[in-house]
């Protein structure tokens, strides 16, 4: 028996090792891998995003028969928010005709950015990833519509400025100590000098995400006027609870657009009343397109979403947003190339030509869902603004108009960062824009 078992395991291992080739996806579909994470400490954000992303495409399949008559196949690959596993997923799926990657992790995006021009597959890091990819001339294959972390940060600072000025204020920056949280620091350092405020940084390691008392002890000592939160996953709910515990005024505690989620704040409940966060996609399921998602996908049991009340959550809608942009880019690529079935290279063109105007948003049933975005070759972020939302103890409520970023400050810095990124990479492919 023991021998048999041993032989059996050995055979299984061997079989698994030989697992190298994958069955090709049928010709006339769009294959979009979704590098999702439904396990680990970041699953709270990963699950709704992956659900929204897949559900919107499935809705298009069910309602319209796909995009331009071509169905979309979304295949998930579990990354656990781990860069190594993300690259493993990338390698496993790229050979199947992947059109675009949307890894929902800045760490994984950093790994994919240099691979994109070589494999000729665009990387769409929507509102995350390397801010410098917004410079289209230097990063032809990277896109971060609707806005970059750097632009977002300036919008948040503008909001703070509108609530009693920025000069001379003490700003705390609480961040997850990984690539994601470190990304806006260079800008923060420059802006603090330029705009005359001081910054205190509170890095939270992944292992300390749920044990932040030491950080908040420091906050109590430093007494910053405002705190900006660059958290993700289990870190957010802990931060809000800790802030409430030391009686930090929650309406002066602002999360970025990944730090204001339903999943995080529901566990905090009424304690978190007043907590602010940035957002760029609509809240709730009242949009006609989302009603269609409910009608064609969720109510028919074709979604992984646990309950239909979760449709319309902030991060669910974020997933929808990412799917909308990809769908629009596909449509635009179909139009410009005249082909029904496009490839990844055509889609890259689509990402530079689509026009998500006010009218178009209305047409696809998402009026007021987000700011209009006009894609261009030069600007891969679209310069979109953000609005502020506030937790009322039960739900997120929109409390401000769109706040546009300080493009005049951010753009030159992005260009500098992009130039620095490619400086030590001989053979990096750039493009010229008209």
């Amino acid at each position: 028996m023991k021998k048999l078992l041993a032989i059996g395991t050995a055979a299984a291992c061997l079989g698994a090792v030989l697992a190298t080739s994958a069955p090709a996806v049928a010709e006339d579909t769009f294959y979009i891998p979704s590098l999702s994470y439904r396990t680990g400490p970041f699953a709270g954000g990963g699950i709704p995003n992956a659900n929204g992303f897949a559900d919107y495409f499935n809705m298009l399949n069910e309602r319209d028969g796909g995009i331009g008559g071509v169905k979309v196949v979304v295949e998930e690959c579990e990354t656990g928010y781990n860069s190594k596993k993300g690259v493993e997923c990338y390698e496993a799926t790229k050979g199947k005709g992947a059109l675009v990657y949307n890894p929902l992790s800045t760490g994984i995006t950093l790994q994919l950015v240099p691979k994109a021009p070589v494999d000729k597959i665009p990387v769409f890091s929507s509102g995350y990833g390397l801010s410098a990819t917004a410079v289209g001339e230097k990063f032809p294959w990277g896109f971060n519509y609707p806005s970059t972390y750097w632009s977002q940060l300036t919008s948040i600072l503008k909001y703070i400025d509108s609530k009693g000025g920025l000069k001379g204020k003490k700003i705390g920056y609480l961040y997850l100590d990984v690539g994601y949280g470190k990304e806006p620091i260079p800008l923060l350092d420059v802006l603090s000098k330029k705009l005359g405020f001081s910054v205190t940084k509170y890095p939270v390691g992944v292992k300390e995400m749920q044990a932040q008392s030491s950080h908040w002890l420091k906050v109590r000592k430093d007494r910053p006027d405002w705190i900006i939160n660059w958290g993700w996953g289990a870190m957010n709910s802990t931060a809000v609870k800790e802030a409430a515990k030391i009686r930090f005024p929650l309406d002066r505690f602002i999360g970025n657009w990944w730090s204001g989620t339903h999943a995080d704040l529901r566990t905090v409940g009424a304690t978190g009343k007043g907590y602010m966060a940035a957002n760029f996609s609509g809240i709730g399921a009242s949009y006609p397109a989302l009603q269609d998602v409910l009608k064609y996908v969720v109510n028919k049991g074709k979604s992984q979403v646990k309950s239909k009340d979760l449709v319309g959550d902030v991060i669910y809608n974020r997933g929808v947003f990412q799917a909308v942009i990809i769908a629009e880019a596909i449509r635009s690529a179909q139009k410009t190339t005249g082909k029904k079935v496009i490839n990844a290279e055509d889609l890259r063109g689509g990402f530079e030509t689509f026009d998500l105007s006010e009218a178009r948003l209305k047409e696809i049933g998402l009026e007021g869902f987000t700011q209009p975005i006009k894609a261009s070759c030069k600007d891969h972020e679209g310069g979109g603004g953000i609005y502020m939302q506030q937790w009322d103890g039960k739900d997120w409520k929109r409390v401000s108009d769109m706040i546009s970023p300080m493009t005049d400050i951010v753009r030159p810095m992005l260009e500098k960062a992009a130039a620095k990124y490619i400086a030590d990479k001989p053979g990096w492919k750039t493009q010229t824009c008209k």
Partner: protein, 359 residues
């Protein structure tokens, strides 16, 4: 029947002290090299090379490094992840400072930096042993990862705080960066790992290796017989860290493409220690087996359902993988506490007497 050395006479001292004294072993190793150098590059897909073979070889090298320290010298260390990091960061620094140097030379040279770090953090081993040494090597782990985060000079003040591969050519081919093909990177890694394995297997059989094993088996007796603990222990730390350092810089330049501090944290150190324990303490062969078990098996398991045409929810598959690996670790450690290498040794003995149950 197999593995009978009957009739294989050794007529010279060289033949007697060869690495593989038995003909069957030589055939076996030649076959394995043929597979590694010819079959795999010809048939392996990008996925197979990138996510299984390259990390397997790199981690095998790191496991050999730790095996030298833990398996041969008996000093338990939890700093291997950090020593890999020292190699990676120093290689990155050198590659950006000397862009025209051959990257392979730099990768090998980066081992010296981590050897130096290993020697410094190995000093406490002269006074303390066992679990207490684990704590001091853990201190190395925490100190070095702290340095990788806080000393911005180490990552050239990159905005992301990560070190990313600098694309480099050698012999007219891209060997690092996104342009480098997986086959090229595989060959570079394979050559370095095989050369260093060969060096290590000779080292542990020689005078130095024997002094390490004497220290491991009984340090007082070794000291009385003229082995100097200072030299033996510190040289073991140096060689071990050298191997880990080279593995670390290969990890960044030939596998991952870019790395954050998380790639060198204590989890990494634990993983390498598990490879050594599972593979077999004091066995070069075991280091390879352990690395295959920890690195290749999970990837293979995750890819398995699709290969066999079964649809499994990727989230569930993730959980199954964790469960299967865990169960297999328990199974193998119950069946053979001395590791996979010992299993192989038993199999060899059995093959020797087969088909008779006794010799």
């Amino acid at each position: 029947m197999f593995y009978r050395e009957t009739g294989q006479f050794k007529t010279t001292y060289e033949a007697d002290s060869a690495i593989f004294p038995i003909l069957q072993d030589r055939i076996g190793i030649a076959l394995m090299l043929a597979v590694a150098f010819v079959v795999i590059p010809l048939t392996g897909s990008d996925f197979f090379l990138n996510t299984m073979m390259i990390p397997f070889l790199i981690f095998a090298l790191a496991a050999i490094g730790l095996n030298i320290l833990t398996g041969y010298t008996g000093q338990i260390s939890l700093g291997s992840g950090a020593f890999m990091g020292v190699g990676a960061y120093s290689c990155y620094k050198m590659a950006s400072l000397f862009p025209d140097m051959n990257l392979i030379v730099l990768v090998l040279f980066s081992g010296f930096f981590s050897a130096a770090a290993g020697m410094i953090f190995g000093l406490p081993s002269l006074r303390i042993k066992g679990f207490y040494l684990v704590v001091t090597t853990l201190a190395a782990q925490f100190f070095l990862t702290w340095a990788f985060i806080r000393v911005a000079w180490l990552y050239n003040y990159n905005d992301s705080g990560a070190i990313d591969t600098l694309p480099r050519k050698a012999f007219g081919l891209w060997i690092s960066g996104a342009e480098a093909s997986p086959v090229t990177r595989y060959f570079v890694v394979l050559c370095i790992v095989i050369a260093m394995t060969w060096f290590a297997s000779n080292l542990v059989r020689g005078r130095i290796g024997r002094s390490w094993m004497m220290i491991r088996d009984m340090d007082i007796a070794a000291e009385l017989m003229g082995v100097r603990p200072l030299y033996a222990k510190i040289s073991a730390f140096a060689v071990s860290s050298f191997y880990c350092g080279v593995a670390g810089s290969m990890m960044v330049f030939f596998w991952l493409g870019s790395a954050e501090v998380e790639s060198f944290d204590e989890n990494q150190s634990f993983l390498i220690l598990f490879m050594v324990i599972l593979g077999g303490l004091g066995s070069i062969m075991g280091s390879y087996m352990g690395a295959a078990f920890i690195v290749v098996l999970p990837v293979a398991l995750r890819a398995a359902p699709e290969f066999f045409g079964i649809t499994v929810n990727p989230t569930n598959m993730e959980h199954y993988t964790i469960m299967i690996i865990g169960a297999l670790i328990i199974f193998f450690l119950i069946v053979e506490p001395h590791g996979l290498a010992r299993l192989w040794q038993i199999a060899k003995e059995k093959l020797r007497t087969w088909p008779f149950p006794y010799a």
